[in-house]
Amino acid sequence: MPVEAAATLVAPWVEWARRWTEGRRLLEAGTFALTEGAIAAGCRVFAGYPITPATDIAEYMSRRLPQVGGYYLQAEDELAGMHMCAGASLGGLKAMTATSGPGYTLMHDAYGWAIANEIPLVVVNAMRVGPISGITGAPGQGEFYVARYASHGGNFETIVLSPSSVQEAFWLTIDAFNLSERFRTPVTILTDQVVSDMWEDLFVPADYAALDCVVPRRFNLTMPFYPVGSDAIDVPPNVIGLGTGVCVSAYTHTEEGYDIEEMEAQWAQTYRLINKIRHHRAELTRYETLGVEDAEVIAVAYGAAARTVKTGVLEARRRGVRAGMIRLITLWPFLDELFERDVAYLVCELNYDGQLVREVMRAAPDRRRVHFMGKSAELHTVAEVVAGLEGVARRGRVPELPWIWTAT
């Protein structure tokens, strides 16, 4: 078995990084990259509330936005922050907010409003370990499902992306803004304390205006304001203030935006909110794989967790284990098609309850061969990942290890 493993990265920024090479190389934080990615994508409003470990995004934004004619709002709470972003976006300005778990919980009200009214904006959630305040400076991955089901009431799909390096955070933020414009929906960047706080090599293009990969804001000036019953994407977002007569509300709506209480209307709205995303999954596929072609066991991870997992996979291969890795970048809609191989899977995530592992169990051919290695508040060590991969490959189970949870 070759120790070297074939690596594949499927994401739009593979091409972007080839096209734009003039710029600065910096040693910078993930929060810096998330901020600069947003500015590069045309974000002109940030409204949020300080919270560790997302606070630095607010601070960077407060410095950068006035320089580019944008606006920094320090909201009275996260709930207000996301509603302010929705208002700014409805007025025609691209907007972003950033938070961590306790603030994310407060945003569900605004999520529902933005999802149902098809308002483009970007939300960064730098996850820390919980529940509640938990340990403020430690990483977690507890909002995998919360980010999918970011509002009550059901009847919608969501788009959630997760970077695993500072450089990727920059490009992925531009991508998140593009998808929010094209799909007319909030896009969540689900990152974590490690990726947001750590400093790494970062390339930033010299001229943001030259980034023709950025999807500009367009305005929908005519009916239908809400193409209910249609799965079309690339419909220009609605705008308040140009006299189109658009109506935006919290109710099940008609194509004009009028509130309505009829089954047909509920059906048509749901068809739109779900199928504009489900029917265009090919536009939303972002992942990295390593050595999956010859693997007997594939480690699965995302975000910061994928960093030690990747090293662990390479180390396991050196020790003769046919190991591979799937790093999810698109978390939602879930990339079921990556789990068609009938092999063992070892899902490594930063929580003890087991969230990502449930989706892998659902998507994989044999759920009995899907194993869980949960760790909470710090990354898996490379030794733990290697032990897990060896255990699954040779004995069909993850060995007993301190601070590792395997029960789902």
Binding site: G23, R24, I39, V45, A47, R64, P66, Q67, V68, G69, G70, Y71, L73, A75, E76, D77, L79, A80, G81, H83, M84, C85, A86, G87, A88, S89, L90, G91, G92, L93, A95, D109, A110, G112, W113, V204, P205, A206, Y208, I240, G241, L242, G243, T244, G245, V246, C247, V248, S249, A250, Y251, G257, Y258, D259
Partner: protein
């Protein structure tokens, strides 16, 4: 349809679904009169509302661009919108739940920032669309469907709250005061800053029926009128008196919030133009 409704509202969305004798439609007509007297058209005004009787009855009646936020959040949405569309007038028409309970923090901070919007708090003194429970503006001691023994909590006056927070125009009126209402709405629209108008109106179905013992519109209006005067028709004093009229007028005395942000941007960009440009930005 009257002339003002024809000019400003959507024929398909009026009359509203309001209960008989509800004051919401009447007050909306008075808002239209104020706009008309100031020469403002549907294209000049963004109309925002929330949830509850006032949200449900006014949403989408406005002929121009309009929004109905989730409960309490109309001012948070308006704060973002005003940045993007600073030249519009904003009528944020909400109820006592939106303004004085679930959304009070947004109200206070919009007043503190002097956000350039007019908030009309149409107050039927309880949660009437959910069947008549007390709210923070229900007079203490009154019976509602969640205070069957009389409301134990003291109520508060939202005008006092926004004055303390820094609102630059504040007035109180009722559904029995047509001329006063039109006058203060006009003054509010001429303040380039945060204006707040508290308008009490009768709910016959719930507050009237349970707190006052009648579903008679005129009797409920009379009860409100008596409490603006401090005495009943028979000359006896009422149990309390509302202070209607202009409560605070510091119109145009301090800069509107989004203007401050635009001025900040001009300062930052002027300073940057005189200095070496930050690399890569």
């Amino acid at each position: 349809m009257n002339r003002l409704a024809k000019k400003y509202l959507r024929p398909s969305q009026i009359p509203t679904k309001a209960c008989h004798g509800c004051g919401i439609g009447m007050i909306e007509n008075w808002l239209l009169q104020a706009l008309d007297e100031l020469g403002l058209g549907p294209e000049d005004v963004i109309f925002g509302t929330g949830i509850g009787c006032v949200g449900r009855q006014t949403f989408a009646t406005w002929g121009g661009d309009n929004f109905g936020a989730t409960h309490g959040r109309a001012l948070a949405v308006a704060t973002g919108l005003k940045l993007a569309q600073p030249d519009k007038k904003y009528l944020i028409v909400v109820g006592d739940g939106d303004a004085a309970s679930i959304g009070t923090s947004h109200l206070i901070h919009a007043a503190r920032r002097n956000l350039g919007v007019v908030v009309i708090c149409e107050d039927n003194m309880g949660y009437e669309s959910t069947g008549g429970q007390f709210s923070p503006t229900t007079p203490a001691g009154y019976v509602t469907n969640s205070s069957p023994y009389g409301m134990v909590e003291p109520s508060f006056d939202p005008c006092d709250v926004v004055i303390a927070a820094g609102a630059t125009f504040v007035a109180e009126t009722t559904a029995t005061q047509w001329h006063l209402t039109v006058k203060v709405v006009k003054k509010a629209l001429q303040n380039d800053g945060f204006s707040f108008i508290h308008v009490r109106f009768p709910c016959n179905e719930n507050f009237g029926a349970y707190a006052l013992g009648t579903r008679d519109t005129l009797k409920n209006l009379e009860w409100i009128y008596e409490h603006t005067q401090g005495r009943r028709a028979d000359g006896s004093p009422t149990d309390f008196t509302w202070r209607t009229g202009i409560r605070h007028d510091a119109s145009n005395s301090r800069p509107e919030f989004t203007r401050l942000l635009r001025e900040l941007n001009a300062r930052v960009q002027a300073r940057a133009a005189g200095a070496p440009a930050p690399a890569g930005a």
